[in-house]
Amino acid sequence: MRAPNAIDFWRGVALVMIFINHVPGMVYSHLTLRNYAISDAAELFVFLAGCSLAFVASGKAGTKPLRQVIVRLLSRAFEIWRAQIVIISVAIAMLAAGAIAFNDPLLLEWHGAGPAFSDTARASIGLVLLTYQIGYFNILPLYVVLLLLALVFVVIARRSLAAALAASFALYAATLTWQLQLPSWPAQGAWFFNPLSWQVLVVLGFAVITLQQSRPSQWQSVVSRLWPVSLVVVAVGAGIVWMDYRPDPMAVPHPRFFFLFDKQFLSPIRILNIAAVAIAFYPLFPMLARSMAPVVRYFSSLGRNSLVVFCVVSLLALAGQIARYVGEPNFLFDTGIVIVGLVVLRVTAWIAELQPLSS
């Protein structure tokens, strides 16, 4: 078990925010990043995944053999694919159990679960192919594709990090310009998170950590110079959110996704905002580690076991949604959901770390 570090800590924070955001309507959702920034916990989580990717691609002794990196990324993608199949199956079973227990047909259609029951043959195929996703169970499919795309960028980065960044931004720009998407099936539409645009956040995280490792003094100098600017960007972002301003998608020029705050396509302002948040809060971790060590240990334990904790976050959030739907939600009720969630997540991380190889 590794000691608490900034990446694990912030990833743990992102996981808790995702848990709270995935139970919509809870009073505690006012505390999460999305209420103070244009970006939200999903961007933070994916950016940190990119940071971790740098450690997968290179160790302290230098760059790892390419074959080892490819095997590691492919096996991780396969592991996440298996996790997605498990949690979406359990989620569908939970909705079915709720529908039967409460004689309530709405539960069979909730979050787009309808095709699983009304078109089971096609939905089963789509589930395995990741083209059938239900609401709030759409981040792991994004991860699978991001890891597969990361293979390409990591290979390019071994020759030139600048070339990898250029390739990533070129794909991002093409995706926004021509509105490239991965299709959903059997339901019409496209993936909730577009991997073709979200990949840029992974590559950015990868580049940041790679540069930190290769040129630590220059990196520190740049971050220090950017810190005051990032504070301004974060403050402006908070102001925009506070004013509830969002560009009119009919009024912005083409290609419009460059100018919107769109989450599916990860519009540039969301990237700028999460980068500013990352820089602005970067100095906070050492301070917290000194002054609030138990809190740092808690969140770091979640971040260290991010995949298994994320799976439990998803299912706990669905359980919380069902409980709020069939119960009478109020402040105490929501508090109970959050407390139970935080305890179960810690227990999950503890169980995961009982085994020698944690995720």
């Binding site: 498990v86 004689n103 259609e109 787009g112 309808g114 609401g135 019409q188 009119d248 409980a323 995961a352």
Partner: protein
């Protein structure tokens, strides 16, 4: 890793079911308020310049309640048809399948609607989009982004169900609905709202019926056509009590709700086109 994930997901699902059973007791609450008096309701004569005739409702979908309410000209749809091009319709809501070979009406609501409209002589291009799980501001933003991408002439919007499931405050929901309908109107996108389903368990649930009432209130206020699915399904439930129960993996009432909603929506659209024709000919101020 597998065994750990499996053990934990089972733990979480057990927790969910236990919570669900614990809080599942029915609660006494005021009944849903009566819907607003319709501004305009009923079958229509369809102008022959655009469509042949409105379909008759099938026997099983004939209910006491009005199938749709409101009087709103669907000018953009009529314009498309007068320009001899198919009217582009986006069906936005909990279902997103667009295929004919599915037995479930839940899955094929957009296909049923498309078929009913074509039977009325309308050339349409139907696009189905889901709104899985998103609520409140996120739902409004997603809808606007899709509308901007697809540029439909008409949006058929099954609205309110996700917000009701998430226990969003009815007043907050109404404010966002007003804002979104205003935005659609500003951009000349015709709208037909389809209100949430009737569910026996929730018939006296103030939170759920509050959302249903707000859909009616805002539709009336914004002069938007509203398919009266909730009341129609309540009529069907009273006529066929056994339909509210799960049988052979299906809730018959929900199936019929979708099947009939497709017929009601088609009639509402035809009426809206007629209203547009009347407005343009000066018969309606």
């Amino acid at each position: 890793m597998d065994s750990r994930i499996a053990a934990l997901v089972l733990l979480a699902s057990g927790f969910a079911v236990a919570l669900a059973f614990h809080f599942g007791a029915h609660k006494a609450a005021p009944e849903r308020q009566a819907t607003l008096p319709p501004v305009w309701t009923g079958a229509v004569h369809v102008p022959r310049d655009v469509v042949r005739e409105a379909n008759r409702l099938s026997a099983q979908c004939r209910v006491e309640s009005a199938p749709f309410e409101g009087h709103a000209p669907l000018r953009s749809v009529r314009r498309a048809l007068m320009e001899k091009r198919p009217a582009r319709i986006v069906s936005f809501g909990t279902t997103s399948m667009l295929t004919d070979d599915i037995s479930s009406p839940i899955a094929s609501y957009p296909s049923e609607l498309e078929r009913d409209l074509e039977a009325s002589g309308l050339a349409v291009e139907m696009i189905a989009r889901t709104q899985a799980g998103v609520v409140a501001d996120d739902a409004a933003e997603r809808l606007k982004a899709e509308v901007a991408r697809l540029r439909p002439d008409l949006l058929v919007w099954q609205v309110g169900t996700n917000d009701a499931l998430a226990r969003i405050d009815a007043e907050d929901f109404a404010d966002r609905l007003r804002e979104t309908l205003g935005w659609l109107s500003d951009h000349r996108i015709d709208v037909v709202l389809v209100d949430p389903q009737y569910v026996a368990r929730l018939s006296d649930d103030e939170g759920y019926t509050g959302i249903v009432d707000q859909v009616a209130t805002v539709a009336n206020e914004k002069r938007v056509l509203r398919v009266n699915r909730y009341d129609a399904m309540a009529d069907l439930a009273r006529a066929h009590p056994s339909w509210s129960h799960l049988t052979a993996d299906r809730f018959r009432l929900a199936d019929m709700g979708y099947r009939c909603a497709a017929e009601y929506t088609a009639d509402a659209i035809v009426a809206g086109i007629q209203a547009a024709a009347q407005a343009e000919s000066g018969r309606i101020p």
